[in-house]
C-alpha cells in the first residue's frame, strides 16, 4: 500500500469517526430531550442537612448548586452573599452540595448561609431535576415554588445584572 493510499484511508476513517460521533451525539441529545424531569421545588426532606438553616420567615430561598470541586461556583455563592448583604429583606442563601457521592465531612464555603448547607445525597438535582450546570441559582418562594433559575455570575432577581 502506498503512502497516498494510507493517507486516503486515514481520511476516510476520520470521516467515519466524525459521522459516528455526530450520530451518537444526536441520538443522545434526542433521548435527553424526550426525557421528562420534575420542575424543581424546594423540599428539605429530599436533602441531608450539613449546616442548619436560620428561621426564614417569608423570605425567598436562593439555592446555589455547588460542587466542592468547582471554585467558580463557590466564588459565585460568595459574590451573591456580598451583593445581597445590604438588602433590607435578604434572601436566604442556601448551598446545595451536588455530585458528591460521599457525605462531605467538612464544608468550608467561606460565607454565612441563612438557608443552611444541604447535601444532595440522592442526586435530585441531576437525576430528578435534570440540571447539570454548577453554580446555577434557584430562586424559591417561601412555599418552595421555583421562581427562576439563572447561571453563575448573574443576580437571580435581576438577570440583566452580572455580578
Amino acid at each position: 500500500m502506498t503512502a497516498g493510499q494510507r493517507w486516503h484511508r486515514l481520511n476516510l476513517l476520520a470521516l467515519a469517526i466524525a459521522l459516528a460521533v455526530l450520530v451518537v451525539t444526536g441520538i443522545a441529545w434526542w433521548r435527553d430531550r424526550v426525557r421528562t424531569f420534575e420542575t424543581p421545588r424546594w423540599d428539605a426532606a429530599r436533602f441531608v442537612v450539613l449546616a442548619p438553616e436560620a428561621p426564614l420567615d417569608q423570605r425567598e430561598r436562593w439555592v446555589v448548586a455547588v460542587s466542592l470541586a468547582c471554585p467558580h461556583c463557590q466564588a459565585h455563592l460568595r459574590a451573591l452573599a456580598t451583593r445581597t448583604a445590604a438588602r433590607e429583606r435578604r434572601p436566604a442563601l442556601t448551598a446545595l452540595i451536588v455530585d458528591q457521592p460521599q457525605r462531605p465531612t467538612r464544608v468550608m464555603l467561606g460565607v454565612p448561609l441563612a438557608g443552611g448547607v444541604w447535601w444532595d445525597s440522592t442526586q435530585v438535582w441531576r437525576e430528578a431535576w435534570g440540571r447539570r450546570a454548577f453554580g446555577e441559582t434557584f430562586r424559591f418562594s417561601a412555599q418552595g415554588e421555583l421562581l427562576s433559575s439563572t447561571p453563575a455570575g448573574v443576580v437571580p432577581d435581576s438577570s440583566s445584572i452580572a455580578i
Partner: protein
C-alpha cells in the same frame, strides 16, 4: 482477493507555494488576533503568548481535520482531492474568523451594530446567557458568510486539480457549496447538541 492499485498522481501546480505562503500569513494573523484579544481581556487565566500559541495550535489542528474530512468526503463522491491543496486554502479562508475575534475584542472602537453584523450575536455581552441553539449560531455574521464563500472557492480550486469524473464549472461550485454548507451545519448541530447535553435543563423555568 483485493488488488492494490496506485492512486493516479496529480501534477503539483506552481501555485502551491503561494497557497502555503498565504496560509503562513493567515497563521500569523490568527496569532496576532488571539494575542491582542487576550491582552485586552479583563480577566484571563493565560498570558497573551500562551493563549495565542494554544489558540493557533487549535486552529491548525481544526483546519487540518476539516481538510481531512473534506478530502474523504470528496473521495466518497468519486473525486480525489489532494489534502495539501485544500488545507492551506482553508486556513487562509479562516482568517475572516480571526478578524471576527478582533472585532469582538475591540469593543470601544466599533459601534455595537457593526460588531453584531460582522461577528454575530456573540459580540453582545448578554449572549452568554443565551440558549444552546442561539450559542451554536452566535458567530453567524458577515465574516462567517465570507468564510463560507472563501472555503467554497478553496474547494472549487482543489476540485479543478483533482482526478475523477470531469464536472462543469457550475457543477463544481454547486458541489463545493453543498460540502461546505454540510460541514458548517454539521458542526453547528454538534455544538448545539453538545451544549444542550452539557447543560441539561439548567436555567430552564
Amino acid at each position: 482477493m483485493r488488488t492494490s492499485t496506485s492512486i493516479p498522481t496529480v501534477p503539483v501546480p506552481h501555485a502551491d507555494w503561494r497557497a502555503w505562503a498565504f496560509a503562513v500569513c493567515a497563521a500569523t494573523i490568527w496569532f496576532e488576533a488571539i494575542w491582542r484579544s487576550t491582552r485586552d481581556a479583563p480577566a484571563s487565566a493565560l498570558t497573551p503568548t500562551v493563549a495565542a500559541v494554544a489558540g493557533l495550535a487549535t486552529q491548525l489542528v481544526c483546519t487540518a481535520l476539516e481538510a481531512s474530512l473534506a478530502t474523504a468526503a470528496w473521495t466518497s463522491l468519486g473525486r480525489k482531492l489532494r489534502w495539501s491543496a485544500l488545507a492551506p486554502a482553508l486556513l487562509t479562508a479562516s482568517v475572516t474568523e480571526a478578524f471576527a475575534v478582533s472585532v469582538i475584542a475591540e469593543r470601544p472602537y466599533l459601534p455595537q451594530l457593526w460588531r453584531v453584523a460582522l461577528a454575530g450575536a456573540r459580540a453582545l455581552p448578554e449572549h452568554v446567557a443565551a440558549g444552546p441553539l442561539a450559542q451554536a449560531f452566535a458567530g453567524f455574521g458577515v465574516l462567517t458568510l465570507l468564510r463560507l464563500g472563501l472555503a467554497t472557492c478553496a474547494h472549487v480550486e482543489a476540485l479543478r486539480a483533482c482526478t475523477g469524473p470531469p464536472a462543469s464549472s457550475s457543477g463544481r461550485w454547486r458541489d463545493a457549496a453543498l460540502v461546505v454548507l454540510t460541514f458548517y451545519t454539521s458542526s453547528r448541530l454538534a455544538i448545539w447538541w453538545g451544549l444542550d447535553l452539557f447543560r441539561g435543563r439548567s436555567f430552564e423555568p
